[in-house]
Amino acid sequence: MNAIHRRHPLRSSSEVVLRNLVVCGLCCFFILFFLVPIVVAFLGSFHLWNPLKGQYRFNGLTNWKMVFESSLFWRSMGNTFIFAAVAVLARVILGLLLSCALHSKTVRFLSTLRTLYYLPTITPMVAVAFVWKFMYDPQFGLLNQLLGAHINWLFDARYAMTAIVLLTIWKDFGYAVVILLGGLYSLPTDLYEAAGIDGANAAQKFRYMTLPLLKPTILFIVITSLISYFQTYIPVMVLTQGGPGTQTYLASYIIYDQAFVKYNFGYASAISFVLFLIIALLTGLSFRLSGQTEKER
């Protein structure tokens, strides 16, 4: 029966027209705005390319050599890894703690709390970064008043990265809470009742049941967060411009800076390809890992 539906031989002319229209549109669009740009960026990384000066001259591996010999590049890669690791870890831990707390039966106002936790995630990044820039202000900023401290958050090398991480955590933890809470609701309740009868305490249930069962969800959050944190540049642009010194340069910020402030398109393309490679690796890794969890089930 299915075979009949799958391959209805009397394909109407309108189906052919609609199908061709859509396929044609999709092909044109994705070739023009993805395939061509990727190829152009790759070729561009082997050229001295400056659109302001009208330069586009082959210079072999010079850009790539410059990338790997640049201490700023390595510095920013290091910064990016630290930034991403801390932000992801905080996001997952906060997400787990809060979602488990919200999941408990004694919690009132569940939906209001969830709504409030998720609020920073939906607000526009540029605007929110400005609010935090003011929060960090040593003169009138709210943060120092709350902490009773006199920290020059954005201009002190010891605190600048912390400031960017804090903003990122605040903005994103709600996403983890909502997704993990969804995961918690989908867990089998009878299993927990059985474990309760067998005398498992709350910590044991969390360690040996909740955590393994939530593993795919946690993995999903880790991977999507890593991918987006490797591309973070707006907080850096608004808060510190990479400073003080090179303290808060992130990989994406260098690309932004090289491409659209200094107009070194070739050099920026080379860096963007390094980033592309890292993100592709992470994505591949995530597929391998999620494949493994499928098997474990």
Partner: protein, 281 residues
Amino acid sequence: MQKQKASSGGSKGSGILLNAVLILFSLLTILPFLWMLSSSLKTNVEISALEQSFLPKAPTLQNYLNAIEKMNFLRYFFNSFAYAVAITVITLYTSSISGFVLCKYRFKGRQLLFSCILATMMVPGVVTIIPRYSMMQLAGWLDSWRALIVPSLFTSFGIFMMRQSCTGIPDEMLEAARIDGANEFYIFHRIILPMLQNALSSIAIFQFLWAWEDYLWPYLMIRSESKQVLSVALNMFSGRYSTDYAGLFAATSIAIIPVVICYLFFQRRFIEGIASSAVKG
């Protein structure tokens, strides 16, 4: 009921403590917004005063009037809104029609096409943005709305979501309509589209928010201030009026408050939307 209470294990006291901690945390979460709002009602003198108070002593709307008159923020607000609505409406249509064709029609290369579309979701924006910028420059589209809208005609995320939703529509329904003599355009617009409402509204929310907060692309494409969008204008004015904190607080509020209000209205949809987008993981 009795059982649940027992299994949650906590005494009444720890329950209250838990609630208190969670509520405190939610207040901390929204504190930056409250502070922004309250500061936007203060004068510059009060903001930079030595004695700080959370609430404004003499609330004034002057900052908002300044942001609207001096910085022309209503204009940017309208531009952002128009830009976001245009992109949202277009991508809703293109996503649903592509999702429908990719899901319900069988043709050669369909799977390959869909895989390619999915693969583009993993391409970081920084890789394609430099060539895209050059393309727009070559086409002479800089400083025009075309440059903002054309690169967003289709979104892989939307197509993916719509294709998933279309799998829930039984093939028998299409067959019945075909036997009744309906052509495919009629079937899509009159039968399929209304059935996709839920998915459409969650995509609409995401798409609108993404377009609303989009910074780099409008910043690169748009040159004349009269066509500029809110997030770029915000960054522009923070340099130009860097000492007018009160004005900047008001401008920031103008960018954030509408989103928050919209969110509070449709919060259920928002939360369902992200839950359903996470299922793919």
